[in-house]
Symmetry: C2
Subunit: 441 residues, 2 copies
């Protein structure tokens, strides 16, 4: 038997998991500060709930099987469709409804560097309002998350499905060729204009002159969102859907500016989100220093999805942070704090007879909010000190027979190499001063 | 199509999920304060890793299937076997090794009140030390978790597999009948002595006089752990395995007393954990006010399990909190704080033209650490106020044209019904005073 982690999956060992948990707490705090409470749905859903929502390619990636009761079930592929199912099932939920969900999702994708078959998504969604205010709120939250995580160099690139539909019409396409056209448009950055011309040229019904107009629009790079909107208005002003999309994006920009986050938000008509359920604003987030890394936070408006399950339409918009992808990126950018374990103090076990004294001291330290471990055996002192050093525990407490009889302890500061015999109250005071951030973070 | 949550599973809607998250954070804090860092393993493992670890009954409850690459996989059934797999796979991990994991596990059990097929386990494990100190540490952490959760009336009932083996021998049994005998012993509380006599009487090789001796030992209830140990010594003093188990439990009691948590820890020779991998100390936790509810936190020593996967033995002990079960119990006991959403302030959207002013005010409030939502539409003021009332948001901010021109806002305290026109700085001050706990916990 090969004892190994399942192919395409990964463990998070303590050092990385401490860092990841710190990210999760930061994201939770931002979400709750924007008034979003958490929701949790099961890992498994009836397959029919998930089928028909992600497009053909997405559906092939479902972990789908028959459970012990012969039910056709699948692991959740995202957090959006389960939300739609909850909304359909709980008619009593009051609108507007906000919620966040931070949970793993599963996709049987081809594993690649930094891409795994299980990954943590952090989603916020606002249901019940098809307004610029709802749209802008997503961008405000997205910016706040990045700020809280300590990431400054990034761009949220924003588009509207109405613009994409108008670009398709400009290229002579009806609904038949749209999916392929948008898929290639999404890759334009990577493949370049020439390869784009080549490949869209093979879509039946494509209009070559139209393609050039599209390229002119999406590759114009005035660098200013208002100017891009003006350019879109010039080029697509006769298309009513494009006009209303431009108007919406303009209102969104007003609100983003009022919130002080316009510097990171950029209109970009080449952005085309893959999932088939988007209907309005869409956005993706790219890191300046890792341009080839792909989007770390994205989402959009999906006004039809809840209706598919609920029988009545409910407008909705969301933004999803790919926590594991962002974790990889932050690691590559050296933005993660290193700390392999949470203990502030190791209490040595001097002898088995003195173990109760060590346990009593540890209990006192923990009550004072100091994260404390007791060495679980009366090993040689040298070995116990080596453990503290290797684990980077900053303080070691020793209680031998003399200290016990005097009601004191030896406190050693590992980095200074200094040691002093003091009372436990004095030790608590010193450790508290040296660890200003306190334990547990 | 029926739009519903999968049978045997449940959603956590925001109110309950806020409460559950608060529990998770409390548990995390206790674990980290005891020097335990987090570890995360995937939801799916190769089936062969999990098979042969949980006994026949456990194995039938696995969610096992073939993935898209025809691999035989299963959802994790607990967090212990995945830990053993990680230890076997990562030879570089230094001993003693501590970790916690808070994650869902899946068991295809018959659903019952408060029992679901997906539930959150909170596990701490200490690997690399077969000592009383390691054993006692579990009880110290378990007590600290209960205290942090605000639960005072509970008992951790402690036994040792060596005692159970000695009781089997006393009843005339060799390994053949042990499992059935211990299963019935575990149910003694529920079924009573007469039914116990009846049912164990059918095990082949059972010694009736021996069964009476066993009953005398496990039903003696002197109420004091030291007295129980003395009684065990009297009854089983000729059995070497029992003697060393009694010695270990006595040392554990010393350390539990030194840690100030002996009041909740009770030796109880009738406790027999179900999972087949336990080898030493075992424990279960029962709530005084819900005696029929079953154990909410349990575990034990499993010195052989890692060896099954790693090829070399590593002593290990752990304790596992069933968070969803405990959540149900705390709900029943009214120990959960009610708060359906996290927002402190609703900023009204007076008109679409004034939406930017609302967004700017919300950004200021959030920067001051106040959880804030903006109503996502310029609905009638009455409707927006009703929303705040229903969602129990304590403050509402209104910025109309007059307020905007004067650089002020209207702050309404919902419970007092009072409203005043003030600056945003003054509003931040007032909200801060009235919400002493701040937002987000």
């Amino acid at each position: 038997m090969k004892v190994q982690c399942l192919k395409g999956f990964r463990d998070y060992l303590p050092e990385e998991m401490l860092q990841k948990n710190r990210m999760v707490r930061a994201v939770q705090q931002v979400f709750e500060c924007h008034g979003y409470p958490p929701l949790m749905t099961p890992a498994l859903e009836y397959s029919e709930i998930l089928l028909g929502k992600y497009g053909v390619e997405g559906e092939m990636l479902l972990y789908r099987f028959r459970d012990n009761g012969d039910r056709d079930v699948a692991l959740r592929y995202d957090l959006t469709v389960p939300l739609a199912r909850v909304l359909a099932e709980h008619g009593e939920i009051t609108m507007p409804f906000r919620r966040y969900q931070i949970a793993p999702v599963w996709r049987a994708e081809k594993p690649a560097r930094g891409r795994f078959r299980e990954f943590m998504q952090c989603d916020v969604d606002l249901v019940g309002a098809d307004t610029a205010a709802a749209d802008a709120e997503m961008l405000v939250i997205g910016s706040a998350v990045m700020k809280e995580l300590g990431i400054s160099g990034y761009r949220i690139r924003i588009n509207h499905r109405g613009i994409l539909a108008a670009l398709c019409r400009l290229a002579g396409l009806t609904s038949a060729g749209e999916v392929e056209f948008l898929r290639l448009l999404d890759k334009l950055d990577k493949i370049g204009a020439d390869a784009f011309r080549d490949q869209v040229g093979q879509i039946s019904g494509i209009d070559e002159a139209g393609v050039e107009s599209v390229l002119k629009i999406v590759m114009a790079n005035p660098g200013d969102s208002r100017q891009i909107l003006a350019g879109l208005e010039d080029a697509l002003g006769s298309d009513p859907e494009a006009v209303s999309s431009i108007e919406r994006m303009s209102e969104v920009l007003d609100l983003v500016e009022a919130s002080g986050v316009s510097e990171q938000c950029h209109i970009d008509p080449s952005i085309a989100r893959g999932l088939s359920y988007y209907t309005g604003l869409v956005y993706e987030t790219f890191l300046d220093s890792l341009p080839g890394f792909g989007s770390v936070m994205s989402g959009g408006r999906y006004d039809g999805l809840v209706g598919l399950l609920a029988g009545k339409d409910l407008p909705a918009i969301g933004i999803s942070l790919g926590l594991d992808r962002l974790f990889s990126a932050m690691k590559e950018l050296n933005l993660l704090e290193n700390r392999s374990q949470p203990a502030d103090v190791l209490v040595v076990q001097f002898s088995q007879a003195l173990a109760p004294a060590s346990f009593a001291a540890a209990a006192r330290l923990r009550t004072a909010g100091i994260a404390t471990v007791v060495y679980p055996r009366d090993a040689k002192l040298k070995k116990q000190f080596q453990f503290a050093q290797k684990a980077e525990i900053p303080f070691v407490v020793v209680i031998g027979e003399d200290e016990q009889s005097r009601g004191t302890l030896q406190l050693r500061e590992m980095d200074k190499g200094s040691q002093q015999e003091i009372s436990i109250d004095e030790a608590i005071r010193i450790i508290g001063v040296e660890l200003p951030e306190g334990n547990n973070q």
